[in-house]
């Protein structure tokens, strides 16, 4: 598996094979950005107000173990949450892309 191979797989999955490379780059880049932002929002949605202050305090300490403990305590199903967010964004994108097509 190399970069080109990965690229070809993703292009096929996204159905953007017929587009110029520049457009493909932009679409993939934007899609990833939206997913990342969506994950960020999802994390914030799960955090209660008091946990946000604690989050910043932990950040100031720069301790990885603390942040891990914090996330496990406040968002125990983090993996499922992330999967869900990715799916949601992709479905939203695909549905609207198709809607536009229709």
């Amino acid at each position: 598996m190399n970069n080109q191979e990965l690229r070809e797989i993703l292009i096929k999955e996204l159905g953007i094979g017929g587009l110029p490379e520049e457009a493909q780059d932009e679409i993939v880049s934007k899609l990833s950005e939206i997913i990342l932002k969506s994950l960020t929002v999802a994390i914030f949605e799960k955090l209660p107000d008091n946990a946000r202050a604690e989050f910043e305090q932990i950040g100031a300490k720069g301790d990885h173990a603390l942040i891990q403990e914090f996330l496990e305590r406040n968002i125990p199903n983090l993996h499922a949450l992330m999967e869900e967010e990715v799916k949601k964004t992709l479905q939203n994108f695909a549905a609207n892309e198709e809607k536009k097509n229709g």
Binding site: S29, L36, K61
Partner: protein, 779 residues
């Protein structure tokens, strides 16, 4: 009831008139007051104090006047809000008019000019009603919006050109750090400019929200919220023309993306409607700036490509709008902005990997295929560790791994590893962006190292990293060990010797489970043969030297190997043990207790692996009764489960395996009555082959990115713990029949018989391995 109401009215009037008369309750009796009230009432009929009219009528008139005042106030607020919206619309129309002029589209230009004139006329009407209207202020607002918009667009184009130029340089020379810096800078500037453009586009949304927030203002005069709503509807009915409504219906997209619809009346079913729709689409696309292309590329697009890009832009726009709305609700706008800024510092070619990982995370590895999952993990791990911050990445990756294994009770699969890699990197980017102190020691903070660039830009197949690329990984002291091949050695046995005698001997020799030891040895062996051709991996001569220094110095790799072994549950460890026994792997370095476990028991235990491991399992062949252990395959052939070895070169009837690995000899190694092989390459290929076949039969790819897909291995897991006999005796329902057919095909193609009590997965792997080994031996 009427009496009560009358009393209440009287009481109210008495109170009011006490105030009018300046009389306190202590100073006048009710009778006196009533008398005074009557006089005043009578005088009011004549016009109050010196006037005419009844008090009740006056009171009603006052109340009505108050309600009217509120209505007027509400209408004025509405007008002011409408005026704000119109100002925005005028500004936007002017921008579009300029675009049409630039494109030399006369008809469209005229259309926008007409619409501007209509909007200005409406603006004048509103200004005529609003007392404090200041036209010059309005023009300033319009001009400000236009200036911001035009300037932003100009800047963005310039930055985009700079970015493209830098990217071109990078493609020619990925090591050009100056170009990398230019690209990053231009990207960040484009992001900032794009945000500015969005702010301008969002002005209308703010206006609309203000408008909706206008409350009912004076409950004391019984002007309820419901009445306010009714009034508003009435007002809208009076002011909105049928044409406006038609336009709004024609462009539902406007509401979805929260851009204020044009309130300018236009003619239905005309070129104007189409132009307006096109305009709205353009506003949607430009306002969120999802896919910006260089003018050359934009100009070169075919109609089909343009249509596809439009669809993608729209899908991305809506997705992004939704995220933004959620961010506003969750008070996470600033957090999202920071994450976006960090993400935009990532060079484009890295984003492909990031995207791949994320998509697999959401859609499941089936979407992109098992090959992708296995191959991409190594690359992703390297790149994401760099992008997301070494320490954070490692922390989150371990966290996800731990949660997965705790949940399933099984070692993490390759697919799960890939998902976790992508998710850990995403988490690392998010946390790193929000808490900069967390990434002080990472690549993200200091720039992408050349090592990663070189690695990533390589066109070579991906292999695990040979050097730790991240500073955070603890330094390890050089650990040297060179193995020298002796008679009978394989890479596997050399790896085992290196572990028992080399720098990790203390750690390794403490492990008493043979399955765990084999897991680690196998990891080392896999690393040794990575990147080798099949021939190279099989070739080892007496006296050949194998240097383990690189592997042993890769502390993360070694840690993972040991951690993976420790994470095996007893069943997994036993299963690995059994595989090793079946392959005739020597018992080097095992404790006496473990070596007491008989080979026969381990290979052929019918039911319980724990029993096998403890030596309590039933001997394989002692209970064999031919009539009960015969099954009939799809071809109609009846086969008994027997230790008897059948040497056959029968040609396969169905190609369950690729032609190149079909059996053409029977050179498998016999062990305790069953045909098997000790060729690790054949075993490895067989496992992959069986996995792929199962996925091809029961895996479902689904739609977009595999959404709605199913994992074939999960479907098959209902059968993998059953014995071949059990499955062949099941009712031939659809899935049962498919598994029965699969077993039949495995037999027909390999002529390898199942042994009594052998589990389905074990049989498939073994038979396929024998078939592959025959092919390799004879090629």
């Amino acid at each position: 009831m009427e009496k009560l109401e009358k009393q209440a009215d009287d009481a109210l009037l008495i109170k009011e008139f006490r105030q009018l008369l300046g009389t306190s309750p202590e100073e006048a009796s009710a009778e006196t007051l009533v008398g005074q009230f009557t006089q005043i009432e009578d005088s009011s009929i004549r016009g109050g104090r010196g006037g005419k009219g009844k008090p009740n009528e006056i009171r009603k008139s006052v109340d009505e006047a108050r309600r009217e005042a509120v209505r007027i106030d509400h209408d004025l607020t509405r007008l002011k809000n409408d005026k704000e919206a119109l100002l925005f619309i005028v500004a936007d129309l002017r921008v579009k008019e300029r675009q049409m002029v630039d494109k030399k589209l006369t008809k469209e230009t005229d259309y926008f000019r007409e619409e501007i004139a209509k909007a200005l006329k409406k603006l004048e009407e509103i200004n005529g009603v609003i007392p404090e209207a200041n036209i010059s202020e309005d023009h300033k607002k319009v001009q400000k919006i236009i200036s911001e918009w035009s300037s932003g667009k100009r800047d963005w184009r310039k930055e985009n050109e700079q970015f493209k130029e830098a990217e071109k340089k990078l493609e020619k020379n990925p090591d050009d750090r100056r170009a990398q810096g230019d690209a990053n800078r231009a990207r960040a500037e484009m992001k900032a400019t794009g945000d500015g453009l969005e702010r301008v586009a969002n002005d209308a949304k703010v206006i609309e929200e203000n408008e909706a927030a206008t409350p009912a203002q004076n409950e004391s005069v019984l002007y309820t919220h419901e009445q306010a709503v009714l009034d508003r509807k009435e007002w809208e009915k009076r002011h909105k023309t049928e044409q406006e409504e038609a336009v709004l219906e024609a462009v539902p997209v406007v509401e979805q993306v929260e851009v204020v619809p044009l309130a300018v009346p236009i003619q239905e079913d005309s070129v104007h409607t189409e132009a307006l729709q096109a305009l709205q689409e353009e506003i949607v696309e430009e306002s969120v700036n999802p896919v910006q292309l260089s003018p050359e590329v934009e100009a070169s697009l075919s109609p089909e490509q343009s249509a596809l890009i439009k669809r993608c832009r729209y899908g991305l726009s809506v997705a992004e709008r939704e995220v933004r709305t959620r961010a506003e609700r969750a008070s996470a706008v600033d957090a999202v902005r920071k994450v976006g800024e960090v993400y935009n510092k990532i060079p484009r070619h890295y984003k492909w990997l990031f995207a791949g990982g994320l998509l697999v995370s959401g859609a499941g590895a089936v979407a992109l295929g098992a090959t992708f999952a296995v191959g991409a993990t190594g690359t992703l791990a390297v790149v994401m560790r760099g992008l997301g911050g070494a320490g954070l990445f490692v922390t989150f990756e371990k966290m996800l791994k731990g949660a997965e294994e705790k949940k399933t009770g099984l070692p993490r699969s390759k697919n799960a590893e890939l998902r976790h890699t992508a998710e850990a990197s995403a988490l690392a980017i998010i946390i790193g962006a929000l808490l900069p102190n967390m990434i002080h020691d990472t690549v993200l903070a200091s720039g992408i190292p050349d090592a990663i660039s070189e690695y990533f830009n390589s066109t070579e197949d991906v292999a695990p990293p040979t050097q730790p690329l991240i500073e955070e990984i603890p330094e390890v002291s050089p650990s040297e060990y060179t193995g020298v091949a002796e008679a009978g050695d394989s890479r596997w046995s050399l790896a085992e010797r290196a572990l028992t005698e080399g720098p990790y001997k203390d750690q390794f020799n403490q492990i008493t489970s043979r399955g765990q030891r084999m897991y680690i040895i196998d990891s080392i062996k896999d690393r040794l043969v990575a990147g080798m051709t099949e021939g190279e991996a099989d070739t080892l001569s007496i006296g050949d030297k194998i240097d383990f220094k690189e592997i042993f110095n890769d502390k993360e790799f070694m840690d993972n190997a040991f951690a993976g072994a420790q994470g095996l549950n007893p069943e997994e460890a036993t299963s690995i043990h059994n595989d090793g026994e079946a392959l005739g792997i020597p018992e080097v370095g095992l404790t006496p207790v473990e070596t007491l476990v008989s080979t026969q028991e381990n290979i052929t235990s019918p039911e319980n692996n724990e029993d096998m491991a403890s030596g309590q399992g039933q001997p394989l062949l002692t209970e064999f009764t031919p009539p009960e252990n015969e099954v009939t395959y799809a071809s109609g052939e009846t086969v008994s489960f027997t230790p008897e070895i059948t040497d056959t070169n029968a040609a396969p009837e169905t190609n369950i395996m690729p032609q190149e690995i079909l059996p053409n000899s029977s050179q498998g190694i016999l062990m305790e009555g069953q045909e098997t092989t000790n060729n690790p390459q054949a075993i490895s290929l067989a496992k992959k082959q069986v996995h792929d076949i199962i996925e091809s039969i029961w895996g479902k790819k689904g739609g977009w990115f595999g959404i709605g897909s199913s994992d074939g291995m999960e479907v098959f897991s209902n059968f993998s713990d059953k014995t071949v006999e059990e499955v062949m005796k099941m009712d031939a329902t659809s899935t049962n029949k498919e598994v029965q057919d699969l077993l039949g095909q495995a037999y027909e193609q390999t002529r390898v018989k199942s042994v009594h009590g052998e589990k389905v997965m074990n049989y498939l792997n073994r038979a396929t391995a024998v078939g592959i080994d025959r092919f390799l031996e004879n090629k």
